[in-house]
């Protein structure tokens, strides 16, 4: 019988695969997908990845299950040690943080993100704020951008220009990353519910389409035209082992909470 997974699982695997072995990785507030991705990477292709886990600041924790809030002591369980939070930012300031995961309420072609305000004046929507993403986007060697709201949001997630920059990508109205003399390298991958991107010349370039997703669908849900390479490949499917690990790590299915029931109806093949 052919096995299937859902979009949350496909995305967790795609996020995990952006982690190199030996990378020092941090994730802060938003919990489920990046946490799962990092824990998964440690258990598969990146056993030497160092995981600095969220606000509790546990090093290499083994939570018995994933909580829906990053403030929970679950993220310290069986950790090597609990660090003072500032040690994580110090490490980032020293240029030793290899990768961070930054989610975007809005994402533009340069990888700038917005988690502060959407809309202007009369019609503003207040988002929660950027947490530590502003600093991390300046300092981390690389970061992975992610959003589970590519499809069905009326081009409002992937936008030509973000309304407010909480997280700096490769180019901004104030100048390019190199002109701004930032320590970090900027985003190198974007993972959405429809596809993945990398960057070329500081602009998002479509890299892979998730199984069953067409280029038209991807572009129809975006407010800008990304770079498109000559040949487009499919996002490599998760392995059965990866899916099994994810389901074991997250029995409460916290990973699905940011997706609509309709999104979760989509099935993707497992390799």
């Amino acid at each position: 019988m052919r096995a299937y997974c859902t979009v949350d699982e496909l995305m967790a695997v795609a996020l995990a695969r952006t982690i190199e072995d030996h990378a020092v990785v941090f994730n802060g507030v938003a919990v489920a997908l990046p946490y799962l991705a990092i824990l998964l990477a440690q258990k598969t292709h990146a056993p030497n990845c160092v995981f600095l886990a969220g606000l509790p600041a546990g090093v290499d924790p083994h939570p018995p299950f994933l909580p829906p809030t990053a403030g929970d002591a679950l993220l310290l369980q069986a950790a090597v040690v609990t660090l003072p939070l500032h040690e994580i930012f110090d490490l980032a300031q020293r240029g030793e943080l290899d990768r961070s995961f930054l989610g975007g309420g809005q994402i533009d072609r340069h990888g700038n993100l917005n988690n502060a305000w959407i809309g202007c004046d009369g019609m503003r929507v207040r988002l929660p704020g950027g947490a530590g993403a502003g600093s991390l986007s300046c300092f981390a060697r690389k970061f992975t951008v992610w959003s589970g709201r590519h499809r069905g949001n009326g081009r409002s997630t992937l936008v030509e220009r973000v309304d407010f920059i909480t997280t700096v990508g490769h180019d901004t109205p104030a100048g390019s990353r190199s002109a701004l003399h930032l320590k970090g390298g900027g985003p190198d991958r974007v993972v959405t519910d429809l596809c993945t991107f990398d960057f070329s010349g500081g602009e998002m370039r479509l890299k892979t389409l998730h199984p069953g997703i067409s280029l038209t669908c991807v572009l129809g849900n975006m407010g800008f035209q990304p770079r498109i390479p000559g040949s487009l490949v499919q996002t490599p499917p998760p392995t059965a082992e990866e899916i099994q690990i994810i389901r074991r790590l997250d029995p409460l299915k916290v990973r699905q909470r940011e997706f609509s029931p309709r999104q979760l109806e989509r099935k993707f093949p497992v390799a």
């Binding site: 802060g28 507030v29 938003a30 919990v31 489920a32 606000l55 509790p56 600041a57 546990g58 018995p64 299950f65 909580p67 829906p68 809030t69 990053a70 403030g71 929970d72 002591a73 679950l74 310290l76 609990t82 003072p84 939070l85 500032h86 930012f89 980032a92 300031q93 240029g95 502060a116 929507v125 207040r126 929660p128 704020g129 950027g130 947490a131 530590g132 993403a133 502003g134 600093s135 986007s137 300046c138 300092f139 407010f164 920059i165 909480t166 997280t167 700096v168 901004t172 104030a174 100048g175 990353r177 701004l180 003399h181 930032l182 320590k183 029995p251 409460l252 916290v254 909470r257 940011e258």
Partner: protein, 308 residues
């Protein structure tokens, strides 16, 4: 004066809340869903404290409640919300969008460096350059500076010395020594950065017990200390109790229902003219609290907390 060298810091919750004065800049301990001094915040609401500025990292129900009750004139937090759990913070969002509170955009690390400057007794600290992000625009807490040694361009952030740090710990002693369970978040830094530090603890015990558990905040940094069991409720205070997801769900439901409903069904029902003892009785029965304290009975019991 951060230092307070007397050896009897114990006060009532009412007196503890009086250490916070109208107009103060407050820094609330804990983070997100964990170890926030909510009994103290409820008491501040009862006492009608006003014109406060709240500064800090990633928070949730504490800031949302303070905003809803109208105590805050400004918010300088890196994040206010309920994450994957309940999403946006409804009162915070509503009042922000109505312009009822001033928002000063910030970032966890920036807040941390600004508090650090205060804790180090210096009026500013340099950071590796941050640029391109809009929170910098017109923000008087930032300057571009050149390193006096290397010429390198850096970002300087201004020291931020809160008037009061509000912290909830697990145990404390009469002299004011406090044991915080992990995670600590920025609490230790708040205590050295702030001019005054008010602490509530689950239990006041003998000095020996606090020492055995580990003193996280030494007595001379503590201005006043009050005993308040379930003082962090509905956030967690491990190992005593996990967060109360059922109560938070109710909170978010009422907050989403709008200003009047929240005033009547939450603020009046759970806070105003309600003692802390009554608050806990209204929140749930013994069985409910047994579930929150019973997280340590095993993974299944712990999962149940998050399934409510």
């Amino acid at each position: 004066m951060g230092v307070c060298s007397g050896r009897d810091k114990v006060v009532s919750l009412r007196e503890a809340a009086q250490v916070i004065r109208d107009g103060d800049t407050i820094a609330v301990g804990g983070a997100l869903s964990a170890r926030q001094p909510l009994a103290l915040i409820r008491e501040m609401i009862r006492q009608g404290r006003k014109d406060l500025a709240s500064v800090g990292g990633a928070h949730g129900v504490d800031v949302d409640l303070l905003v809803a009750a109208g105590l805050l004139k400004s918010v300088q937090h890196s994040y206010v919300g309920f994450e994957n759990d309940f999403g946006l913070a409804p009162n915070y969002r509503r009042v922000c969008q109505e312009g009822g509170v001033e928002i000063l955009e910030t970032d966890c690390n920036v807040i941390l460096q600004r508090l650090r400057a205060a804790s180090f007794g210096v009026p500013f600290l340099p950071m590796p350059r941050i640029a391109g992000i809009d929170l910098l625009e017109g923000n008087p807490a930032f300057r571009v500076v050149a390193c006096p040694f290397t010429g390198e361009t850096l970002t300087a952030v201004r020291a931020l010395r809160p008037d009061v740090a509000l912290i909830h710990g697990l145990k404390g002693d009469r002299a004011g020594n406090v044991h915080l369970p992990h995670p600590h978040f920025m609490d230790g830094l708040l205590a050295t950065a702030a001019a005054r530090t008010v602490v509530t603890v689950e239990e006041i015990v003998a000095e020996e017990e606090v020492r055995r558990l580990g003193v996280s905040i030494p007595h001379y940094l503590v201005t006043a200390l009050a005993e308040r069991p379930f003082g962090a409720h509905p956030t967690s205070c491990y190992p005593a109790y996990a967060y109360d997801r059922r109560h938070l769900a109710e909170y978010v439901r009422l907050a989403k229902a709008g200003k009047e409903t929240f005033q009547r069904d939450y603020l009046d029902a759970y806070v105003n003219s309600v003692t802390e003892e009554d608050y806990l009785r209204r929140v749930g029965d013994g069985e409910h609290f047994a579930r929150l304290t019973g997280w340590k009975d095993g993974v299944a019991a712990w999962q149940e907390v998050f399934a409510e």
